[in-house]
Symmetry: D2
Subunit: 334 residues, 4 copies
């Protein structure tokens, strides 16, 4: 999870491209008009919705506050449940989309990195995925016959977080990339969302790399083609809502609901309209319990759900990377 900037606590925090898109919509006359440089297409699956957001130029990147590239989002409330059939559908979907996005050449060596702090349950998604990745780079020529030739070299690591190691995650990854010389990095991370409904019910995959603390003034080294010299695919799941974001959103909805219940032109209506963002923030700082700033909102069963999600993502990656591995095999090697 990314640290939030202390300066402006009340900016809405989301790592999801689809929510960035939503927020633009909220500020527009017509929510459905795509901002310039942004393309969005949606497709419904039997138990999921897939949304593809493409940011094709600088204008789109600025509007969205995210780097140019492709963002694929898979949404399904079933991700939270013990719904094995739907999970198998999503594992296969994830594998197909990942293969399309990464297009790894046969025999290419790939490094998978699980970002985040294994001591903080909702941040432990990355490390938990790593524990289920089929690691093969060290098995050159000594693989069990039934999978020999059907697997590519894969390495995997959980670099931890700076508070645990004293070292920038980026430095550890870069050092490893220089030794292992993979042709692709796949980075898994836990994300923050704006809407509780998306927590543990959304998987985002992008070819833009991971920008820890992007847009919140945090200077941490990004993991992308530029910094590492190889393409970086990021896969993430929102596991928390920032408590301050929840409060802020609640306030917006209360005001909106009041407005809708008020006669237009009435002084009350006017007064509500006049409430500027700035005033709203001052109001929140007055009323918000300061301790809430360091808190997040997460579902009671987060521990079990993170286990399930890490299994889905790890198996999706295992199938995508190893040509010979199919849905039937995963249980045997993952």
């Amino acid at each position: 999870m990314k640290e939030k900037d202390e300066k402006n606590t009340f900016q809405i925090r989301t790592d999801l491209a689809i929510e960035a898109r939503e927020m633009i919509g909220e500020k527009q006359e017509n929510a459905d008009v795509e901002p310039k440089g942004v393309q969005v297409e949606t497709q419904e699956g039997e138990c999921y919705t897939l949304t593809r957001v493409r940011i094709v130029n600088k204008a789109g990147s600025e509007a969205m506050g995210k780097p140019m590239g492709e963002y694929i989002t898979i949404e399904s409330q079933k991700l939270k449940e013990n719904a094995v059939d739907c999970h198998e559908v999503i594992i296969q979907l994830l594998a197909d989309q990942l293969r399309k996005l990464a297009q790894p050449k046969e025999k290419d060596c790939i490094l998978v990195a699980g970002l985040g702090n294994w001591n903080i349950t909702p941040d432990a998604l990355g490390p938990k995925v790593i524990s289920r990745i089929l690691v093969t780079r060290h098995l050159q020529g000594c693989l069990p016959e039934e999978i020999e030739g059907t697997v590519r070299p894969v390495a995997a690591i959980s670099p931890g977080v700076m508070g645990l190691t004293g070292v920038e995650t980026g430095e550890i990854i870069k050092g490893l990339v220089e030794k292992v010389k993979p042709t692709l990095l796949i980075a898994i991370d836990a994300l923050a969302a704006r809407r509780s409904s998306r927590i543990n019910a959304t998987i985002q995959m992008s070819d833009t790399g991971v920008a820890p603390g992007a847009g919140v003034g945090n200077k941490r080294m990004e993991l992308n083609q530029e910094t590492l010299g190889i393409p970086v695919i990021a896969i993430g799941v929102p596991t928390v809502v920032d408590a301050a974001t929840l409060v802020n959103d609640t306030m917006d909805r209360i005001l909106a609901s009041m407005i809708s219940q008020t006669k237009e032109g009435s002084s009350f209506y006017q007064m509500l309209q006049d409430l500027e963002q700035e005033e709203k923030y001052t109001m929140i700082t007055e009323i918000l319990d300061p301790y809430t700033e360091n808190m997040f909102v997460t579902p009671k069963e987060v521990d079990a759900v993170i286990d399930r999600l890490s299994n889905i993502i790890a198996n999706g990656i295992n199938i995508a990377l190893h040509p010979g591995i199919t849905m039937e095999d995963i249980s045997k090697y993952s």
Copy 2:
């Protein structure tokens, strides 16, 4: 943690007597007037505040929505930090208060129960305390010399939750009480608070037993003198805020702040004044993300803090129960 009733999600949820007292104050002309049948005294320590709430009659019990008895609350932000010196002060304080409240006779056998679900981090406080209790009931006559005669018989159990065992926690405890025949039960549980500031910064101890789901229409068996036939001391720490409670509180504060900023007599002022609870709840149901209902607010570092808190409570209990055990010894046996 106690399940909340689905019917009226928006009643403010708190297991703390001091917050129940606060809420009465908010509805009164004068917040400082104690409700009938309730006595409150506060004392400041070097790194903590101790509040003693006594509910002395039916009237007080109804006003507070809690059983008659004594509620001791220790508050300290240092509980969250790695502040060893302050923790030692609080361990000793906890031990003294517990001894006063329980007044166990020498050699009496005491059962300690850690309630809650060990698979859900903020609910795992009880089981974690149990893992640090100095258990001695089975050591009759075979204790290491240096502690022989200085310890009383103590048994400890983590009964789990109904979802894990299929059995009411109360049934398991009652069955065990009938076999072990202790003269006192000490039950540790994770609680819900209304204020984020109190999360992991408050320890409540009471002689009223534990009433799972009290006041939220939940029919679970209570653990108290009546049901078990022995006195029950409850020790708890609020580890979460109910997300709906946070939203509801935020709304109240927003309205209060708007009122304070509005000219008295203005139609806006009137309108705000007229907002009935009921309307407010309807408004919230309209605006509240349904998924938020099943979520809670907890600090990022909850895993580490729960470890620290369970250590403090376990050591407080170890010192209180074993006459020969002092602060110096605890590290050796806990």
Copy 3:
């Protein structure tokens, strides 16, 4: 695992009926003649060997040092490996044998108990099985439609060990049995074997209950029809070899091998022949590193194997107990 008696450390320790049978064979002229009152039949499966030992009278019970009853042993080296296909065969076999042995009536409530210390990896088998049991006793009438009517009431508990709770495992179980009133107890426990080859490669199931410390002078309360008033099925897996047992066995084999390599009638041959058990034990006490007494032998990968075994046993139990649950379902609910 059962404590061993300090008096005679060097008696060979095994909890397996098939090894008790072997040891009788070693002392007989003809190893293949069954002792009186003991019936043994063996059947080969596609990836396992099943051995059924029946002790039908007192004579057999004394000869074997085990209570009268039926002991079913499933042996397969594949149990240690990640061999999903064979595991599914054994899960089904386990379920069939358990149903035959227990013959539970429809709707009967059954209690499953996971014995052992969850803090000691090779002793944590029982508690790990419990974490995977489909617990349903508390769901009367509120089961998901797809399984309603297909499941029986099942409760599950891990009582811990006396060192953790201060209470006899038997007391905890008896107290619970009196509350829950099940018609059958299924107890899972980690066992000790004599042969390294059987570690984590053997599942023993019997209708004789569990006798902790049986035959090693330990007075712990047994779990059986007599003590609990209901039938008790025990399921166990040997996870360790007692280090002293390994040393003792090694010595016997060395002597045997020397004898076989020695000219009959030679003084050396005579001398070896004359070595009495007693002398052997004295010799061992002289040469055995005393620290070895408290040690056990276990495979490096014990942590992963125990996970796998607990999954196999839990699923076998889930299928045996819930008429509507099949191999296809288990992954969904276990």
Copy 4:
């Protein structure tokens, strides 16, 4: 822990210099004569024995089968127990010896690496130590006042094992060393000993680096001045005895004991004398249960003891590295 070579299973396995020294003694006329190029001095502490073995030239290195350098061994049965007072003595001793051996310059940055597999209890010592190291490299200028200026930059990592990451431990460490540029590496690892009595009761520290698989034909990259370009201090604790080593040792002791009980000159005596190593090994291969090869001997309470040992070693390192940190502070920051 180091993999053992499949070729010659029965060579005695030990990672301890003092045991290498012992084995030379056993083959000599006079056990007390030091081999050429090896200096040994011993000193008794209040609750420990410290042995310093110096290998000063090639001859010594070959005789011992270990690289030239200094090996400091701290032995205390109290290390296994919950003996806080003795542990504090050993923590301070460890800190003093480590400072002498490493002589780190003020402000030098130091990297601590915890080798081993965190999924295998007796191999998890290194990773557990890392979780307790006071990591400060990332806190330049933002340290809490009370420790600012009293701590040096320290980074820490648990690189895992090749089976988990697909990457050589040495490659990961080398990559990190090139980024972090420390002036010293401290590597913690679990070891194998020959004598059960030394398990979890011995700490070895040396300035010779870590040579995974040294002397067992294993080609893994060593961690030392030569491979990393910085000095490497290795700290290890034997947590297992190789089961085959235990069997082999037992056999030697049995034969020795038989010899001692036999009339010199008798044919039996002669025969025992004539038993060559080679024959012994053949005999063992005949009698040894093959499954024993992959097993190790470890104490029942290994999980708890490893926790305690990792705390002792981590605190010793914290005090040695941070000039301002004393015994009193450790509990606060470790």
